[in-house]
Symmetry: C2
Subunit: 226 residues, 2 copies
DNA sequence: CTTTTCATAGGTCGTTTTACCTATTTCCAT
DNA sequence: ATGGAAATAGGTAAAACGACCTATGAAAAG
């Protein structure tokens, strides 16, 4: 490996192969300039649409793709999803002006690993490309906060007004519901009657303002489904 | 607000009040130097132990605490947990050489918002303090990757042998079940009949070897209950 | 060209869940 | 000691669910 680097003793490793997918010419040109300035990076191509990228990326097999989200036609997120199943080794860095919660989470689920805002200073963009190549998930601090908040919400029994009202016994019952037990099984496990279980569950639903098991579980344990 | 900045037209906002909790003298001194060099930051104090910090932080009320994790006696994580309940407005930046998964997640659950590795270059540490103050969650790219990986694992239908058997339509139905929708609501949403929904769900249960909604959700999405 | 799978639609029947009631005992706080 | 909530137990009835069937058209696999 590294035979293409034999004519220079400066670059010891192969250059990081980068592709840009961005419809705005100015943004694409700006990125291009920064990338071309860096010895460790090699810009392979720039696409204006997700449709073009979907066709070409699996053939080009770059290391890193800088992907705009709001593209005409297919979104950048959809593009990541499609390419990622074909070539999971390609790393995607989302690049957008917006920091909409759902977009962030959708992009990550689609297979993106990095998420930068367009206001990120150029030197940090370059730095982030290298971090992404090394297996990191570089992201703007405000984006990271969204992930942290979600994580914390999911791993703490919510201290929301609603959940806080549940009595210890009710929380106990709710935990057993979440395990998938039937009313009669919960009754047996807790050594109380079937009717009492129903009574507890009714109170839980009332306090949480929900109508069924699944909603209650989603409400008290962080909701992991969109 | 800002009366203490009236004698200079350079600093428009109050300085960011920083505290360091770190037992290693060299590390603490290094951090101190960087912080004191920056006009926007003000170092209030440095503590050598978590025990001392727990007592003093609620009184000092700094904006930001740079917190080492591996302290003698009480850990930095435990310290964050204790102080955070008393003064939730204090923002904690974990600062450690290790990037152990559990430690990262425990620190975030305890209430930390930022997480830097000690190898982070000084200018980035300073930058991160400011980002934390502005409500972001600055973290090293490798730390962020841990969060992203966990998030993706939790929000994708598991690649278990069982779940892999589900058809695209079945996965779609399962996602709607997980949201707490009724059969008739799923039918409406997908534009198919109530009977077809039952048919899909029956097949899902059969393939997953489960008997009801909750078990199916627990099986395919990571188990949220202990 | 046949077989299988998928997605669709339907029926029946028993079980489970949920809503809406009443009621008793205990314990805690005013 | 009285009022309130928590935990217990029960009844009734409707809605939702799940098991077990059949069946058809399209698409994929053989």
């Amino acid at each position: 490996m590294g035979s293409d680097a034999s004519n220079t003793n400066f670059v010891l490793m192969a250059k990081i192969k980068v592709v840009i997918v961005e419809d705005l010419a100015e943004v694409a040109e700006g990125l291009t300039a920064f990338i071309q300035q860096d010895e460790a990076l090699q810009l392979l191509a720039t696409y204006r649409t997700a449709e073009a990228a979907v066709l070409e990326l699996p053939l080009l097999k770059p290391d890193i793709v800088i992907m705009d989200i709001n593209l005409p036609g297919m979104t950048g997120i959809e593009c990541v999803r499609k390419v990622k199943v074909l070539e999971p080794s390609i790393q995607f860095m989302m690049f957008t002006v917006y920091e909409n919660n759902d977009q962030v989470f959708e992009a990550l689920k689609a297979g993106a690993s990095g998420y930068l805002l367009k206001k990120t200073p150029p030197f940090q963009i370059i730095e982030s490309i290298k971090e992404l190549q090394q297996g990191g998930s570089p992201m703007s601090a405000s984006i990271a906060r969204k992930l942290v908040t979600l994580f914390v919400d999911q791993h703490t029994v919510k201290a929301t007004p609603e959940a806080a009202v549940l009595t210890p016994r009710e929380k106990e019952v709710l935990n057993l519901i979440a395990k998938g037990l039937l009313y009669k099984e919960i009754a047996e496990q807790l050594g109380i009657s079937f009717h009492t279980v129903r009574q507890h569950i009714g109170k839980i639903y009332e306090k949480l303002h929900v109508q069924n098991k699944t909603e209650a579980i989603n409400k008290v344990f962080g909701n992991r489904v969109q």
